[in-house]
Assembly symmetry: C2
Homo-oligomer: 141 residues x 2
DNA sequence: CCTTGAGCTTCCAGTGACTGGAAGCCCTAT
DNA sequence: ATAGGGCTTCCAGTCACTGGAAGCTCAAGG
């Protein structure tokens, strides 16, 4: 197969496939005219990479998963460890995004969104403490 | 103030502050020796940027927010629009991550994580359909 | 046989938002 | 005079591609 066909069948664009070759994730052969020639196993590998990437694994994670996949002496614990590490990274990201979401959605709700300049979003960004009534001077530090 | 002091007071590292100057987010003055000189307003701006970045706004988003902040003729609707767009981007990311999390956590649960090579995580990545019992011989190809 | 167009090749540059490091100037203290 | 720390600039690297230019190859049509 040429690169166009693997691209279509694996769902990975030609550019990316070339990049994957560059960084040693796949090693297609070459035919006489210099074109890359992919076998079914290459296609399989690329599809594997596509799915791993879709699950958010980094390229290095994919590389490790792929080498475990091809290693018949692997222990599933190794795979699980990689996956668990990634899972916890995902959880961290979700938590971080949810914290942002929390703050931001409150601010958005509080903003009138009209033609006047007053804006609690900008007020917050400029350093005002949210929900802080200007009572008797001494506010939080 | 020199860069070190603003860095400490704004919580933004010197490198990043220089970068922000490069891309035109702040314009500190220069003293005779070539050192950057920051005023309180610069510090304020940097703190603003720090908070906006912490909420996940892109640099361009920050630039827009900052220019609205400094624009007395702004309409809060403009600010709200930026924030809402960002909020929806955050929601998209959260959804995407949660979808990954969902799949991945099922796979991790299903993996024994022992010293044997059998691994549902790799099986899934290699293209097997999840929950597909290999009943009477005819398995997936 | 020639042309045309698609498909392939390589290489270089850019993305976002920094971050690290090198080389060198400035300032203060000893 | 020297040592150090802080400041300056510029260049390169990160991550995972993506776009584009210049040029070769191949199959089909005239």
């Amino acid at each position: 197969m040429n690169i166009g066909e693997v691209a279509e069948r694996s769902g990975i664009p030609p550019k990316t496939i070339r990049y994957y070759e560059d960084i040693g994730l796949v090693r297609p052969q070459r035919s006489g005219n210099g074109y890359r020639t992919f076998r079914e196993t290459d296609l399989h590998k690329l599809a594997f990479l596509g799915r791993a990437r879709a699950l958010g694994f980094s390229i290095e994670g994919c590389r490790n998963l792929l080498s475990l996949y091809e290693d018949e002496t692997r222990e599933s614990a190794q795979v699980k460890a990689i996956a668990e590490e990634h899972l916890s990274a995902i959880d961290d990201k979700i938590a971080q995004l949810q914290a942002m979401r929390e703050t931001l959605s409150h601010l958005v709700e509080a903003c009138h969104g009209d033609h006047r300049p007053d804006c609690p979003i900008l007020k917050d960004l400029s350093g005002a403490l949210a929900g802080c009534k200007p009572t008797t001077g001494r506010s939080a530090d």
